[in-house]
C-alpha cells in the first residue's frame, strides 16, 4: 500500500505516489531555478508543465489511476535533466562537459536533476559573484552575503555604515608610536571598493537559496500564559526558559516585559495548523517536514510534565494565564467587549507614547538645523559650512541620535496601531531593517561620540596677569553690557581677593578643552575677553566673545582680582552674575551688592563698610572701620 497525493498540473488533477511526488517536486523546482534567468521563463515552464500533464495523462490508460514513482522517473528521463538542458546552452559548455563526464552511479542518478545545494562545492572553492537576482544596486552586497552565508541585510548595513562613517582621522589615536597624519575617508573608499567589485566580480544568475520561512507565532503546545515565550524561543531558536526569564526580568525593568508581552500576545497569531507550526519553528514546508511534525505531535499526545522545580517557578504565571483565559470565557460577550475596550485603550496609549517619541527627535532636528542657519549660533557647530564638512561630526551625531530615538518611537507607534487593529503591522523584514538602521545609528553614535570626546580630552590653561590702576580713592566694579544669548552658560567668573600688595592685579585663567594639551592651550589663547579701566570704573564683560572662536571646546575664563587691603571699592549689581566665591564666603548676601555700599579687604577678608549689619567684628575689621570712619563716602 502506498500513500498518494493529489496534484494539479495545467489544470488537470493527478494522484501521484508520495515518493514520485517528492521527485517531481524537486524536478520542477530545479527547472524553475534553471530557467529563472530566461526572459520568458514562465512560458517555458508552462510549456513543460503542459507536456508533463500530457505525458501523465498518457500514463493513465487501462484503468490505471495513479502516477507511480516509476512514471515520474521515466518522465524526467524523457524531458531531460538540468544537465541535459545545460548541454544545449552555449554559455555553459564547461558545465555540460562536466556533467557528461560524471559517472552514472546511483548517487548522482538521484541528484542529477537537482541543482546540488552547494553547486560551487564541487569546484573545490566558493566563488565570489554578484548576485543578479537579488540585487539592489549591483548585487555586490548580496554576493558577499551569499559568499559568507549570511543575510544580505548585514552586508548592506556594513556598506551603508562605511559610506556614512565620514572622515576617519588616525591622528586621534594616541596609541600609535609614530605620528599619523592620515585622513582616510572611509566613505569614499567604500564607494571605490564597491565600484571595483562591481566591475571585477562575475555575475551569477543563480537564485539565492530559498529562505526558510520563519514567522513569529504563539506556540499553543507549550504555553504558560499565551504561548508568546515559547513562540519567541522557537523563532530565535533558544531555550524557552531564556525567553521566559527575559520577560520576567523585563517586568522589573519598569514593567517593560509586561507591556512587550501583552503587545506580542495581542498581535501574534496562534500557530494552529501544521504549516503554521512548521513556519513557527522555521523550516521549509516540505512533505518530510510536515510528516515529521505530525509524527512528533502524535508521539507526544500530552505535553511532557515539566520537572518539579520548573513547575514551581512557573506556577504563578500559569495561574495568571488560567485566570486571564478563564475570565475571557466566563464573562462572555460583555467580558469580551470590556477586554476589547481595554485593548483599544492600551493600544491608544502605546500609540500616543510612540507618536511623542517619534516627534521628539524630529523637533530636535528642526531646532538643530534652525540653529545652523541662525548666525548667532555659529559657534555651536564651527563655521558653517566648510568647517562643518571637515569636522563632519556634529551633524552626523545629531542625525544618528535622532534616528536612534526615532526608530523605537516608530515601532511603538506601529505597535500601538497593531494592538488596536489586532494585526501585526510589523513584518519581520521591516522589523529587521529598522532594527538594523537603529543598530547602525547606535554604531554611528558610538563611532562619533569618542571623536567628539577626543576633541575635549585634554584641558589647557593659559594665565595672564595684569596690573590695573583705576584713578581715585574709591574704584567701582561693574559688569559689561549683557549679551542676551550666552549669559546662562556662566563661562566668565571673577573672584575678588584681598592682597597685601599695593597694586590691583587681575589674574585671568583662560581654560579650554582640546584634543591635546597644546591644542587646548591654543584654544584657550584664542579666547577673547574684554574688560576696561576708565577713570575709577573697572568694567568686566560678562561673556566670552564666541564669534571670534573657531570651535566650541568648553572654553571658560576664571579671573581673580587681587585688591590691596583697605582700598575701598563699590560693586555694582551687574557684577553679581560673574562674581564667584566672594560674597557668601565672606558672610554677606547678594542684596548687599549695590552701588551704595562700600567695601574693603583686610587680612580677615571682605568687609562691607556701609552695610547695616555689624556681624563682622574681628580686630582687623574694627581697624578697617576705624580707618574709614571719617571717609567722605560714608558721610553721605
Amino acid at each position: 500500500m502506498k500513500k498518494t497525493i493529489s496534484i494539479n498540473i495545467s489544470g488537470i488533477l493527478f494522484h501521484i505516489e508520495e515518493d514520485g511526488y517528492d521527485h517531481l517536486k524537486k524536478y520542477l523546482e530545479s527547472i524553475n531555478k534553471h530557467f529563472s534567468h530566461y526572459e520568458d521563463n514562465q512560458e517555458i515552464i508552462k510549456d513543460i508543465e503542459n507536456r508533463i500533464a500530457e505525458i501523465f495523462l498518457s500514463n493513465l490508460k487501462n484503468n490505471k489511476q495513479v502516477i507511480t514513482a516509476e512514471n515520474v522517473d521515466r518522465l524526467i528521463e524523457k524531458m531531460g535533466t538540468i544537465a541535459d538542458f545545460k548541454a544545449v546552452e552555449e554559455e555553459k559548455p564547461a558545465a555540460a562537459e562536466q556533467s557528461q563526464e560524471e559517472p552514472d552511479n546511483s548517487d548522482s542518478e538521484f541528484y542529477k536533476y537537482i541543482t546540488p545545494p552547494h553547486e560551487d562545492a564541487g569546484k573545490g572553492y566558493k566563488k565570489l559573484t554578484r548576485l543578479e537576482r537579488s540585487k539592489i544596486l549591483g548585487g555586490v552586497c548580496a554576493g558577499l552575503a551569499h559568499y559568507l552565508a549570511i543575510d544580505p541585510l548585514w552586508t548592506r548595513l556594513v556598506a551603508i555604515l562605511l559610506l556614512f562613517s565620514g572622515e576617519f582621522s588616525l591622528r586621534n589615536f594616541d596609541f600609535f608610536p609614530w605620528d599619523w597624519n592620515i585622513h582616510v575617508s572611509l566613505g569614499w573608499w567604500a564607494v571605490l571598493a564597491y565600484i571595483v567589485l562591481w566591475v571585477i566580480l562575475p555575475v551569477s544568475y543563480e537564485e539565492p537559496e530559498d529562505k526558510k520561512i520563519k514567522k513569529l507565532y504563539r506556540n499553543p503546545d507549550d504555553r504558560v500564559i499565551g504561548g508568546v515565550s515559547s513562540g519567541l524561543a522557537a523563532y530565535f531558536k533558544i531555550e524557552v526558559l531564556w525567553a521566559r526569564l527575559a520577560f520576567v526580568g523585563l517586568i522589573f525593568a519598569g514593567g517593560a516585559g509586561l507591556v512587550i508581552y501583552l503587545i506580542l500576545w495581542i498581535i501574534t497569531p496562534v500557530a494552529k495548523s501544521i504549516t503554521e507550526r512548521i513556519k513557527m519553528k522555521g523550516g521549509e514546508i516540505t512533505l518530510s517536514s510536515i510528516e515529521n511534525t505530525i509524527i512528533a505531535n502524535r508521539q507526544t499526545p500530552e505535553p511532557p510534565i515539566p520537572p518539579q522545580n520548573k513547575k514551581t517557578w512557573l506556577a504563578p504565571f500559569r495561574f495568571l494565564g488560567d485566570i486571564i483565559n478563564g475570565l475571557g470565557k466566563a464573562l462572555g460577550p460583555f467580558g469580551r467587549f470590556v477586554l476589547d475596550v481595554i485593548r483599544v485603550a492600551f493600544g491608544l496609549l502605546i500609540f500616543i507614547i510612540g507618536v511623542v517619541v517619534t516627534l521628539t527627535p524630529l523637533a530636535f532636528l528642526g531646532v538643530y538645523f534652525e540653529l545652523i542657519i541662525n548666525d548667532g549660533f555659529l559657534y555651536m557647530i564651527d563655521n558653517v559650512p566648510i568647517e562643518m564638512i571637515s569636522e563632519s561630526l556634529p551633524i552626523w551625531l545629531a542625525i544618528a541620535v535622532s534616528v536612534a530615538v526615532f526608530i523605537p518611537g516608530l515601532i511603538l507607534t506601529l505597535l500601538g496601531i497593531s494592538v488596536i487593529i489586532r494585526r501585526s503591522l510589523i513584518e519581520s523584514r521591516f522589523g529587521l531593517v529598522t532594527f538594523g538602521i537603529w543598530l547602525l545609528s547606535i554604531m554611528v553614535c558610538a563611532f562619533q561620540i569618542p571623536k567628539t570626546v577626543a576633541e575635549f580630552k585634554d584641558q589647557g590653561k593659559f594665565t595672564k596677569e595684569t596690573v590695573l590702576d583705576p584713578k581715585g580713592s574709591v574704584f567701582i566694579l561693574q559688569g559689561g553690557d549683557r549679551e542676551q544669548t550666552m549669559d546662562e552658560l556662566e563661562l566668565v567668573d571673577i573672584q575678588l581677593r584681598g592682597t597685601a600688595d599695593s597694586t590691583i592685579r587681575l589674574v585671568q585663567d583662560f581654560k579650554s578643552q582640546g584634543s591635546s594639551r597644546t591644542d587646548a592651550i591654543e584654544n584657550a589663547k584664542a579666547i577673547q575677553y574684554d574688560y576696561s579701566v576708565k577713570d575709577s570704573i573697572l568694567t568686566f564683560s560678562r561673556t566670552l566673545e564666541f564669534a571670534s572662536m573657531a570651535k566650541f571646546r568648553g572654553q571658560n575664563l576664571y579671573q581673580t582680582l587681587h585688591i590691596p587691603y583697605n582700598r575701598p571699592f563699590v560693586m555694582d549689581k551687574s557684577m553679581i552674575s560673574i562674581l564667584r566665591n566672594t560674597i557668601y564666603s565672606n558672610g554677606y548676601k547678594l542684596k548687599d551688592v549695590t552701588k551704595h555700599n562700600y567695601w574693603v579687604f583686610n587680612e580677615d577678608g571682605l568687609l562691607c563698610l556701609s552695610c547695616n549689619d555689624e556681624h563682622k567684628q574681628s580686630q582687623a575689621d574694627s581697624l578697617s572701620r576705624l580707618q574709614f570712619k571719617d571717609a567722605f563716602f560714608l558721610k553721605e
Partner: protein, 109 residues
Amino acid sequence: MKASNTQIQMRKGILEFCILHIISRGEVYASDMIEELTEAKLIVVEGTLYPLLNRLKTAALVSYKWVESESGPPRKYYSITPEGSQFLDQLSGTWNDLVTSTTLITSKK
C-alpha cells in the same frame, strides 16, 4: 578539448534550422516535433525543445495558436512567420554551402 563540446556546438545551429524546417511545413504541435527530432537523434530530451521554441517565438520567426485538446491541456500549434521563412531561406543557403564545402574537404583522402 573534448569532442562532445564541439558536437554540441555543431548540433546547436543545425537544431534551430531543423526545427524551423519542420514548422515551415505547416502547423505543428511540439510533441510531434519532438518525435521527429528524437527519431533523427537531434535531441535526446524533450525539455530542451521548449526554450528553443520560445527563443524562435521571441525572435518573431514562428508564431503559435492554442488548440483545445479532448484529452489534456490545450496545445500550442506552431507555424512559421514571413520573417521565419526568410530566415529559413538564408539558413538553407548556408546549409547547402556548408554541405558542399564539408564534402569537398572530407571527401579528399
